[in-house]
Subunit: 208 residues, 4 copies
Amino acid sequence: MATRQEQRSEETKNSILTAARQLFANRGYDTVTMREIAKEAGCSHTTIYIYFKDKETLLQQLSMPPLQALMERMDALSEQKTASEEKLEAVSLAFIEFCLANRSMYSLFVNVKAGRVDEQSPQLEINKIRNDIFAKLSRMVQASLLLAVTDEQLLMCTRIYFYTLHGIVATYEHSEETVEMLMDRLTPTFRQAISVLLSGFRETCKET
Amino acid sequence: MATRQEQRSEETKNSILTAARQLFANRGYDTVTMREIAKEAGCSHTTIYIYFKDKETLLQQLSMPPLQALMERMDALSEQKTASEEKLEAVSLAFIEFCLANRSMYSLFVNVKAGRVDEQSPQLEINKIRNDIFAKLSRMVQASLLLAVTDEQLLMCTRIYFYTLHGIVATYEHSEETVEMLMDRLTPTFRQAISVLLSGFRETCKET
Amino acid sequence: MATRQEQRSEETKNSILTAARQLFANRGYDTVTMREIAKEAGCSHTTIYIYFKDKETLLQQLSMPPLQALMERMDALSEQKTASEEKLEAVSLAFIEFCLANRSMYSLFVNVKAGRVDEQSPQLEINKIRNDIFAKLSRMVQASLLLAVTDEQLLMCTRIYFYTLHGIVATYEHSEETVEMLMDRLTPTFRQAISVLLSGFRETCKET
Amino acid sequence: MATRQEQRSEETKNSILTAARQLFANRGYDTVTMREIAKEAGCSHTTIYIYFKDKETLLQQLSMPPLQALMERMDALSEQKTASEEKLEAVSLAFIEFCLANRSMYSLFVNVKAGRVDEQSPQLEINKIRNDIFAKLSRMVQASLLLAVTDEQLLMCTRIYFYTLHGIVATYEHSEETVEMLMDRLTPTFRQAISVLLSGFRETCKET
DNA sequence: AATGAATGAGTGTTCATTCAT
DNA sequence: CATGAATGAACACTCATTCAT
């Protein structure tokens, strides 16, 4: 039973998260100050420390939900009843769009050192999601190839597929265009890239 | 005939450059402080200002020579008398190797805002090199396709080719493995990626 | 109803103002550092930035109120129902006393570059006050002359009158005597100076 | 017998003095850096320390000769065979011109604390010159009055005379006009001021 | 005599964070 | 729960000065 106080508290926390999300996305983690977040959230900067141990923690708490949302969206798309290649395309475009919409998160997502098992949970969590995404795409790539490949071949293809996805996002990571502008302008190119890779994979795997 | 003093001076300058290179590479331009560089270089932070006007200048002096070296190497490789595809492969691997060997430079190289024609020269210089590399690779991609393509098709192929190269480098940008380790381990994958792209390009361009 | 916290805050602000006033007065604006002011005020140097945007703002906030007080006092004195010459004397002595009581302000007041109409407001404000004072004294000098003079003559007389006032203040600007000591000791001299100037003006204007 | 080395040494010292004089005059003592002086003088900044203990010493060594030159000029002018009032005028204008031509020196000249007998010599020296000038002007004022006055009256007149001179200089101390421009534009006003003071003195002293 | 190399102290300013209320 | 007050550490950069040659 949430008292009125608890409700208000939750509201404050949310407004902080929302403000921080927006500012981090637009201006990058380092540039944004706690005071700016507080001003945007409509509270004192000291209040933030009631809810979050420090700036870094705030960032990490911020990054989990969207990543989970991405996972869910990718799952949903991959369960649709369409051809494998179409599904891969849809999921890939969703991934690209998400990454461009959350550019600051993206660098966090990508740069967290892999494997450091001894670290605290938030990094591990992110690591886990990253591996999940990799595995998911790997399966979809396989399904789209329409031919049998060895594990080794699949790993190689998935890696190459990832390189390109990562490269796409990295190319526009610091662009000043909005996600919408970028997606409008470049979706055909992205589609083409996927198509090129798949047909290249097929050719290459066939030969061996 | 360099006096002993001049020698020592040169050493100091080099140790600053080395320290800065390393720190920029590991921790990014913004995060590194002049005092850290000085400590790493074994001198006072004010000494840095004897050799470099300011932090930005230090960064730029650091980045130009290797980029020029890369250009020269790419030129040399592209003039060899081998098949187009082999040349493209050699040049691309050289590009990847260089970028991984100079990871800090890479993010500098990639992130400099494009086009700002009104800016001062150093950024322009980098911009110019970037465009040169793009043009060079574009030409080599065309030669490797072994079939006629429209300008539009070529632009799209080059873009996709770049995405993948960029993605490869970005993927290992923060890895703790040395360049040598990475190249040893992954050169086959990189070759494969190039081969996949080329055969994908050919398939895709043929169709239309 | 001021809370205890607000009270303390006000105290801090005042101690900063007091410290700054004193140090600026004794050692000049440029020479004084924010850290010195803080030490004198008994707080951290960063605390100053809570109350004042920057060093310049601190200086300006310091200077406006006393100048406005001076204006008001001069206005009040000039509206009294006494002989013109007595009023001029009273106003002039008030001006001298004020300037000696606020020596740091004085150099600020005097040194602000004239006329720069394109500058931000605070300098303009001071400029305006200075012009007001000049105009006010000019009118009173004219009234005290008891004879008709051309505009040109009046301008010259006012300038000379100002030179002497300015010279009086400048002479004792760096004296270690308090205002009270100086006024006690020198008021007769100052009166005499005014009287000398007026009779000199009359003689000189008569001739032409 | 000056060796060639001694000659060169003297030259260097002089070029430092010349450079410093110019820079101090144009930009003020605090703003000028040792490196700037060195560059202007055509030597290394370390060389300055061979000839002058530190920046302050340089300033003081710089200030004595012109002051002595002023003294000599004032003496020469006061020994001419013209009417007393003309001599006073000539000497006063020379004083004003000198002070405006050496503005940075002027503040040094004026601000040196009076009387501090325990201080080192350079300050005393300046003090002495200041007193000399005061005495000299005092005598000339007396001669120009053309009537007998008590010591007390003379002191008062001299003080007032000084206030005005000082005020004139202080008024234009921070002006951006050159000495020449100022003297061209304002010499009539200065003459008038002197004339006003003298006739005021006469009137006032007559009465008592 | 002269200099290039080097440095410590210091500049104004910002920021994440803590404390007292 | 929430906040204004306060702070120490840090930033890039400058300067007068000293040291070794």
